[in-house]
Amino acid sequence: MSVCVDKSTKVVVQGITGREGNFHAFHCKEYGTQIVAGVTPGKEGEEVAGIPVFNTVKKAVEETGADASLIFVPPPFAMDAVLEAIDAGIRTIVCITEGIPIMDMVKIRMVVKAEGVTFIGPNTPGIITADEAKLGIMPGFIFKKGSVGIMSRSGTLLYEVVDQITKSGLGESTALGIGGDPVTGTDFIHWLKLFEEDPQTKAIFIIGEIGGMMEEDAAEFIKSNVKKPVFAFISGRTAPPGKRMGHAGAIIMGGRGSAETKIKALREAGVTVVENITEVGKTVKEKVGKG
């Protein structure tokens, strides 16, 4: 078992003929993911790494039965790609694209919530179920099938944690980046529910950072809904406040959203918060034991 994606997931790569799409479609396929189709308008009939390319997602779905999409198209065309995927019946979307206008994401978020679509990203390294399927750009070799479910707002920090969890011998069930932008398709609560239900997952790791309220909301949810042990690391304790958040934006938060309020809320919910990023593997291993 695992969460959201596995060996049976059939993936269409949107923007497959671009440099990044091309590169990562190949590597995802090499990892063992069923990359069944690519889409680039006007390039139907071509092949990329043995993957057939179609003009439209609809055609790709009809011909290959794809049920998930991995999106690499540039920001100005990302919303179009997302809505095309939803229209074609895709129910899991991983959007790697970085730099999507925030109002486009506000609209996308609304549509995916109304349609019940799982939208991972944008600005995410993707999602991976270790040794089964990789829909993303993460270095596959650092993952190992195991028992820790990991979700992160940051890409490389996810790698750092995964590396330690793998080296500790516990390994990962499913790991993902929910995306680094202010508006993302899912939040921590979405994944806490799934990890809590997943029999393979024995412990859950949250990688948060300053800004927003996602960690506080997760803490509130954990209190009454999560029985599995939860760990967290929050980055940005030393980041200068307000430098990027803006002022009215910070006011909405009502003084919340700092690393301190997040760590406090998580601890109050019984979450083990790791202070030193290099002690993640050790801490989880000690508390959870051999996976």
Binding site: Y159, R237, T238
Partner: protein, 387 residues
């Protein structure tokens, strides 16, 4: 975020039919004199800088005559202005807005931002206008109202009723409605991250005027906001941050002495936290991002080296798309171009780590290459202290 100057934002407001005081931008004391004559004194002179809090810093002055306007302009223009929001180095004032003085009855704070938690735009408003919103939040938190906006519906009548009741608009509801909905249109149509007017004033004659105007544009939307992109005054930004931006690096100058170069914002912040945990102080935040090439790595390294306060450097890369060997190539490249006179600690992990190690070994400079991030952080703190 791309910030507009007040005079630029007011021009946008005006084009949407929102009343703003008559006024023009002045680049010289002579300009200020001519504009003051045209508008007719008394006039207000306002320093145009990309930072709030200029009122307390002496950036807003009233002149009773055109000559006085010229005099004040010559005192402000070309000077560094330090406000609560600029940092200690301040920003040089190069433009003034000279505009008519308005008879104020009541001052309102009104802004629109994206509420990250609700994932929607939201109005933040207060009847305690005129002071900075942070101060209102501190002194009168109960005097702030937040109204999230359903983007498919826009601002609804119940919200306008609530806002008007809260802000104390009774006989001006129609005009208030016009201003609220129009500012929201600007927010959406110009892809803003912030639209703010503080104060929005109720004049003695009953009309509503935006006395101040702030707009920040979503950088990611500039491809469809060419008009807004042209308004960007780059002289207002830190030159190093600009240089970094040009190379798609994310750089923020800080007050410590340990230069940091990391890939990914989260790992960057975690690395800074770790340095702090071991008693050090980061000199900057530098995220080389997910698409770094040897060239951008070299550029990032150069930017850090340009900062005279840097005593030691920590490079922490977890190779994913950014392969470690490419990072190593970039470092070598930089070392060949720029003189490095501080110790450099490097920690590499992930994709092509081994190849990177080999490259660094052949470098014309002795790096401390370490596998353990914790040890690397301790080491760079020690080196920065000159211990």
């Amino acid at each position: 975020m791309i910030r507009l100057h007040e005079y630029q934002a007011k021009r946008v407001f005006l084009s949407y039919g929102i009343s703003v005081p008559t006024g023009y931008v002045a680049f010289s004391p002579d300009d200020a004199w001519k504009i003051a004559l045209e508008i007719g004194p008394p006039v207000v002179l306002k320093a145009q800088i990309h930072a709030g809090g200029r009122g307390l810093a002496g950036g807003v002055k009233i002149a009773r005559t055109a000559d006085e306007a010229k005099e004040i302009a010559s005192q402000i223009l070309g000077k560094r202005m330090v406000t609560a929001q600029t940092g200690p180095e301040g920003i040089v004032v190069k433009r003034l807005l000279v505009e008519e003085a308005v008879n104020i009855d009541k001052e309102i704070y009104f802004s629109i931002v994206v509420d990250r938690r609700r994932c929607k735009p939201a109005i933040v408003a207060s009847p305690a206008g005129g002071m900075e919103i942070e101060e209102i939040a501190k002194l009168h938190p109960e005097q702030i109202i937040t109204e999230p906006i359903e983007p498919i519906a826009g601002i609804m009548p119940y919200q306008i009723r609530r806002l008007c009741d809260f802000l104390g608009f009774n006989n001006n509801r129609e005009e208030a409605t016009h201003i609220f909905t129009t500012l929201y249109r600007i927010f959406v149509e110009k892809d803003c991250r912030l639209v703010e007017t503080n104060p929005l004033v109720l004049c003695k004659d009953g009309s509503l005027i935006a006395i101040d105007a702030k707009m920040s544009i979503d950088e990611d939307a500039l491809f469809r906001q060419k008009d807004m992109a042209r308004l960007w005054d780059i002289t207002q930004s830190d030159p190093s941050e600009l240089e970094a931006q040009k190379h798609k690096l994310s750089f923020v100058r800080l007050n410590g002495n340990i230069g940091c170069m990391v890939n990914g914002a989260g790992l960057s912040m975690a690395t800074m936290d770790l340095i702090k945990l071991h008693g050090g102080e980061p000199a900057n935040f530098l995220d080389v991002g997910g698409r770094a090439t040897p060239e951008t790595i070299a550029k990032g390294f150069e930017i850090i080296l340009n900062d005279p306060s840097v005593r030691a450097i920590l490079i922490n890369i977890f190779g994913g798309i950014v392969r470690c060997d490419r990072v190593a190539e970039g470092i070598i490249k930089a070392v060949r171009q720029v003189k490095v006179n501080v110790p450099v600690v490097i920690r590499l992990a992930g994709t092509n780590r081994e190849e990177a190690m080999d490259i660094l070994k052949k470098a014309p400079f002795k790096f401390s290459v370490m596998d353990d991030l914790n040890e690397a952080a301790k080491e760079v703190v020690k080196l920065a202290k000159g211990v």
